[in-house]
Symmetry: C2
């Protein structure tokens, strides 16, 4: 009677959701202040005031169809020009408006890109740990997601394992840096080596292998540069969102960048338009297009995330955890104190510490702690992490 | 290298688009005021002031995450309750928030519904004249669109032709009333007869046949009631958009209504959630959810459309055209003055009258004139329609 696959996708609860709901239940029992919920990657920094100011200024235009009317599918041409200019100024690129396609957030941007590119039997490769929705999105366009095991020492790329998995079916590589859930930023060396391999393999298989860079956390990086991939590899597609940088996750606004240098720009940009059409992303919300143009290049306030990262990282190290230093995004990804990450996260629940097992991100034995929460909550959680660690020591 | 189907969908220009672009070119040559562009169904009524007021009021909330944060996928629960209540008050229904799923406009609403329901070999039936994107959307979910020829006398449903096309593969019927392009509103008798047939056929094939009602023009109806389909048929799904009623086409905000009485509510609502997820409609823009809640039940200003409909209809009748009286939406769908609607629209172009051939809507021999344009432009176009008609008389 209905599409069973859709039913499954619409009703099966993710681990993160289950943990979050457990937290809500516990909060009702023992009080909000006694729950230490590190489960959700929801920005807790307030939306900057310049967003509100921009909206109010835009609304002063008496011609409402210029605010709320349809835009062409790739987005308001003037907005695209402004965004391109802003990207160029910050990342030393040479885009114009025609290189941009404005989307309803990054989820739409990456899925539109997948759909635009995917042909039967295509494979998309990503690197653990990875954002679990990739699997759903890649499979929804009829392709297969191939996962390269994590390089847990530094959460850069395990190139030996990567090379084994590239073949003639490989359509594209998906990267996410700063990374959810590892908090790592791919170094320039990593990107250079990745580009080198992709160039070699594209030649070997006589077809371009694309690099899709999913960058919702680009601005949340601590004293470390996030290389702009189009400067290193021609067949790159960049997917961006304002969800995190401007704390606008509910508004669904972002964009796709397709560089001129990509293999057959016209074909790819045209296919992106077709994919947006069938996924019924008619145009990105028109008011929000104007807002991001007005706020192009404005700074993201990452001071709270930076402070939280430091406090949680130091606290965990102090308690005896092994963890890479936070480089970006708002996640830490420490090693569990036992091999079974599900068992570990269950044990942490006894202290009302809500953590997500690494297996959900293709990286068992680790856990994700999202620190986009109140600093004070993090501070009060540290003694509990300590107790948890001591429990393991005494076993 | 890319998905050729997406490329085709993204780059092939629609007839409407081609006509519109011709108009822009001509306007540059002979002046905007000498072009009579009836091609686009773009609301020309200003967005009501209460929308602006609502936005400004919402922005006063200092907790920005309540404005711009993620909502659950079906939409803010409070907003859904308010919308359900407003629907109940106006249409004598009994919905609660759980019956609603807020979407990014009607295109998303109908495609999510198609995807939620469609299984292999499914057929979706619609009635000519019909909105051409239905074909693209139905095919994109792997199903087939079956078109019932128009009943040109009144643009109600040709039931004899309809019955011939229902079979065991029929998953759902798509209706659009007030109709684009005919401007007709399906009468209560039409809806009752449709429900009767669907009940009978559902029994015959031992499976529910769904009725998907695409209603972006619900509020634009002239002194005629638009029956609310869930009051007549249990297996109904209503798809709504604020694009036309509040002149917000670029903002992409609307909803799906799934009544309790539908065959297996839980399965269908769950599948809708799954379909929204894979089409990457993460949630409808959160600020816009709050705006429509604040403006629920506010009136649409249809006075301009009503006036335009009257002037254009009377003018065309006076010039000798055959046309049904406008009942709703903002389109007239008169008979062409020759059998070939493409040839007719080409001839109209000589007078800079830009009309869309009916064949594009599955109804050859007719043309669509969108009257959501300046009243003064319509008035000045009437002598040209007269000249065009005289040209045919003299031939």
């Amino acid at each position: 009677m209905i599409n069973e696959k859709m039913y499954e996708l619409g009703t099966k609860k993710s681990t993160i959701r289950t943990i979050f709901e457990f937290g809500r239940k516990r909060a009702a029992e023992v009080g909000e202040e006694n729950i230490f919920d590190f489960s959700l990657g929801n920005p807790n920094v307030q939306t900057p005031k310049f967003i509100k100011d921009a909206i109010i200024e835009i609304l002063e235009n008496p011609n409402t169809s210029e605010i709320h009317g349809y835009t062409v599918a790739p987005g308001n041409p003037k907005v695209r020009e402004i965004l391109a200019k802003s990207i160029n100024e910050r990342f030393n690129t040479k885009f114009s408006g025609k290189n941009l396609f404005i989307t309803s957030g990054a989820a739409a941007a990456i899925t539109i890109s997948f759909k635009a590119l995917s042909e039967p039997n295509d494979e998309f490769i990503t690197f653990a740990p990875y954002f679990p929705e990739y699997k759903c999105f890649v499979e929804s366009v009829g392709a297969k997601l191939i996962v390269v095991p994590a390089q847990v020492e530094d959460f850069q790329i395990n190139f030996d394992e990567f090379i084994k998995r590239i073949n003639s079916h490989t359509k594209a590589i998906i990267i996410n840096s700063p990374n959810n859930p590892s908090g790592a930023v791919y170094s320039e060396d990593t990107i250079k080596k990745l580009a080198e391999i992709l160039n070699k393999k594209s030649k070997e298989f006589s077809k371009p292998i694309f690099l899709i860079s999913d960058e919702p956390y680009r601005e949340i990086a601590y004293d470390i540069e996030v290389p702009y991939v189009t400067n290193y590899y021609n067949n790159s597609i960049v997917c961006y969102s304002y969800s995190k940088s401007f704390s606008l996750p509910g508004e669904r606004i972002g964009y796709i960048v397709v560089p001129d240098e990509i293999a057959d720009f016209g074909k790819i940009y045209g296919s992106i338009a077709g994919a947006a059409r069938v996924l019924t992303h008619v145009n990105a919300p028109s008011l929000w297009q104007l807002v991001i143009a007005k706020c192009a290049g404005m700074p993201s306030d990452i001071s709270i995330y930076r402070k939280n990262a430091e406090i949680l990282y130091n606290g965990l190290i102090d308690a005896g955890f092994t963890c890479n230093k936070p480089q970006g995004a708002f996640y830490l990804f420490p090693k569990c104190l036992e091999n079974d990450d599900y068992a570990f996260c269950e044990r942490a629940k006894k202290y009302d510490l809500l953590l997500v097992p690494g297996n959900d991100f293709g990286c068992p034995g680790y856990f994700r702690a999202a620190y986009c929460i109140k600093t004070e909550t993090i501070e009060r959680s540290l003694p509990l992490f300590k107790k948890l660690a001591e429990e393991y020591k005494n076993n």
